[in-house]
């Protein structure tokens, strides 16, 4: 009665004890391999966390938690603080959401709801999916050569002229800065915002819609007082998942934000974000503390994005009752 794993091409019709044992042991081995693969991803996750902290250790021991509130980023005097990069990350992501939220929600309503122009749904869905597949470095290249001059010569002067009484739209515009980075991020999170909100809106029960329309409400009133309230939690989740993407986007932002560690109220000014500092200064960073500070920024970035994503997933799960399949 061997416990071997020998595979049989054609099992004999008679079932004996030895055959049963063999089958069971084959199942055991397969089960062990499957569990092993599952254990592997747990292992990778553990190593991942440690791997993020190890290169950051020189900076963590030197600056401690003061790193979060220091606004100095001075490689020459080897003084580093994360505040300008945190500020830039939050400001650019906020601009991205302010632009992408209404447009994304409107587009999602069209794709999920609008009975008119139905023939446009397929091509438009396809175009927005296509946008999600374009590599961020290509979006960055386009933004670097065509969006920055457009912002410098047209958009920024226009905003200065019309809304210049606000401190956000004052100062000289170079085209590189928070606002341009925010616009680029808006383009990049739009596909996520549209796809997720569309799914959430489609999950609103048909009967609710029909009841509202039967009571004499117009389409607009149905959207405002039935669909949006019902889908609110799910849409919040979609916004947070978009935020998670915006916070961590690296290359396209690095190419247009101007890369200067400063905190300004003017959105025309150059700035920095957490990932763009790392991407921009890695090759020139010398010394343990400088390199360590870059990786410390990486730790901060990962902690923020994990927090945002976990909250978003919980909201989306709670809304749809089951887990979403992919973003």
């Amino acid at each position: 009665m061997s416990m071997g794993t020998a595979e049989r091409v054609a099992p004999p019709p008679l079932v004996g004890t030895s055959r049963q044992r063999r089958l069971i042991s084959g199942d055991r081995i397969f089960r062990a391999i499957a569990y092993g693969a599952a254990a592997l991803i747990l292992l990778i996750a553990g190593v991942f966390i440690i791997a993020l902290f190890i290169p950051a250790l020189p900076a963590i021991t030197k600056f401690g938690l003061g790193f979060f509130i220091s606004r100095t980023w001075d490689p020459v005097r080897s003084q580093f603080g994360a505040l300008p990069a945190i500020y830039g990350t939050l400001v650019t992501s906020a601009i991205a959401l302010v632009i992408a939220f209404p447009i994304g929600l409107g587009a999602a309503l069209f794709l999920a709801e609008d009975a008119r122009l139905r023939f446009l749904r397929g091509p438009l869905s396809f175009a927005i999916e296509l946008l999600a597949g374009i590599p961020s470095v290509v979006i960055g290249l386009w933004a670097f050569f065509t969006l920055t001059p457009l912002m410098r010569d047209n958009v920024d002067p226009f905003l200065n002229h019309t809304l210049g009484f606000l401190p956000f739209f004052q100062g000289s515009a170079s085209g590189y800065g928070f606002l341009t980075a925010g616009v680029v991020l808006a383009i990049m999170v739009l596909p996520i915002m549209v796809a997720l909100s569309r799914d959430v809106i489609q999950a609103v029960p048909r009967s609710l819609r029909e009841a509202s329309l039967a009571l004499g409400a117009t389409n607009a009133e149905t959207i405002w007082s039935v669909i949006l309230p019902y889908a609110r939690v799910g849409i919040t989740g979609a916004v947070l998942l978009s935020l998670g993407r915006a916070l961590g986007e690296t290359i396209a932002v690095t190419m247009v934000i101007g890369n200067r560690p400063q905190i300004t109220t003017s959105l025309f000014a150059s700035g920095y974000t957490l990932p763009s500092v790392i991407a921009n200064e890695f090759t020139e960073a010398v010394g343990d503390v400088y390199l360590g500070s870059l990786f410390y920024l990486g730790v901060v970035l990962v902690l923020i994005t994990i927090a945002v994503n976990v909250i978003a997933r919980l909201l989306v799960w709670r809304f749809s009752g089951s887990e979403p399949t992919g973003a």
Binding site: A34, I44, A107, I134, I251
Partner: protein, 279 residues
């Protein structure tokens, strides 16, 4: 029956706004593709673009052979690592994963999906570059493999769960052990979904730049040894865009066109495969 004018107007206004939103959302992709095509074609048609390594800055001519080989090799090795492991984890989730361990794996995979891609670069840097003391294509492949893993395992799980239970029961009723039912009946039935997931993961990995900055690092010499620093199309685009030489900028656009074509081809292949296997 007629609505009060104001309600009718608001309804029309909202309908108009919604159409406006969807148009605005669709415009960037058209503009982007048009720009990449117009700016990239001349560079792509330059002799030597596909066959020469880059020349030093300021010297006209040169190509991106180093980057083409680099992207293919880095993503290729990454896929060899990620696809089998990801498919196995997907099998685990679908066949054995209705328990807390399965839920933990799903949660971790979701967290990985949401992580910024630059974090995977830091992982590759610490685990491979710091231990071997130099940049290498292999470290980039490992970083990208972890980045691809969640996409592949979720696609595999989704595809396997869709296989009807009656197929599994039929196999078991014929006396086949569970592992043979899984590998010879369930997996072949779900192969379309698994291959699609793998192709989509490869397309995403090919477009990534941030994870390569501290791993593959870039190399202007044509390099095929995975233990050495290597170029990649995305790195060529990023670095060439920021230098003030028109011929290098033109090369960046051409590399962008090539990369978009590569990613689009992979995506289209995935769609075709899905359609064919659904028939």
């Amino acid at each position: 029956m007629s609505l009060p004018l104001i309600r009718a107007l608001v309804d029309r206004l909202v309908a108009g706004l919604i159409v406006l939103c969807v148009s605005v959302a669709a415009i960037p992709v058209l503009v982007l593709l048009l720009f990449v095509l117009i700016n990239g074609l001349p560079g792509m048609l330059t002799p030597g673009f596909f066959t020469d390594p880059p020349y030093p800055q300021g010297v006209p001519g040169g190509g991106v052979l180093n980057a083409i080989i680099g992207t293919l090799e880095i993503v290729g090795i990454g896929s060899l690592l990620a696809v089998p492991v990801g498919a196995l984890i997907g099998i685990f989730l679908s066949e054995y994963g209705r328990n807390p361990i399965g839920n933990t794996v799903r949660f971790i995979s979701d967290v990985f999906t949401g992580l910024p891609s630059i974090a995977f670069g830091i992982f590759g840097y610490t685990v491979v570059v710091l231990t071997t003391h130099h940049f290498s294509a292999l470290s980039a492949s490992i970083a990208l493999a972890v980045l691809m893993l969640p996409v592949i395992l979720r696609a595999t799980e989704t595809a396997l769960v869709l296989v009807p239970n009656s197929l599994r029961e039929a196999g078991l009723a014929l006396g086949a052990p569970r592992w043979r039912v899984t590998l010879e009946i369930v997996v072949p039935a779900a192969l379309g979904g698994i291959v699609t997931g793998a192709l989509l993961a490869m397309a995403r990995a090919a477009g990534e730049t941030a994870p390569l900055l501290f791993t593959a690092f870039g190399n202007d010499i044509v390099q095929t040894n995975p233990l050495q620093p290597m170029g990649a199309l995305s790195l060529t685009i990023f670095r060439n865009a920021l230098v003030p030489y028109p011929n290098l900028q033109q090369q960046a656009w051409a590399a962008a066109l090539l990369l978009v074509a590569l990613v689009a081809a992979t995506n289209i292949l995935a769609r075709i495969y899905v359609r064919r296997s659904q028939r």
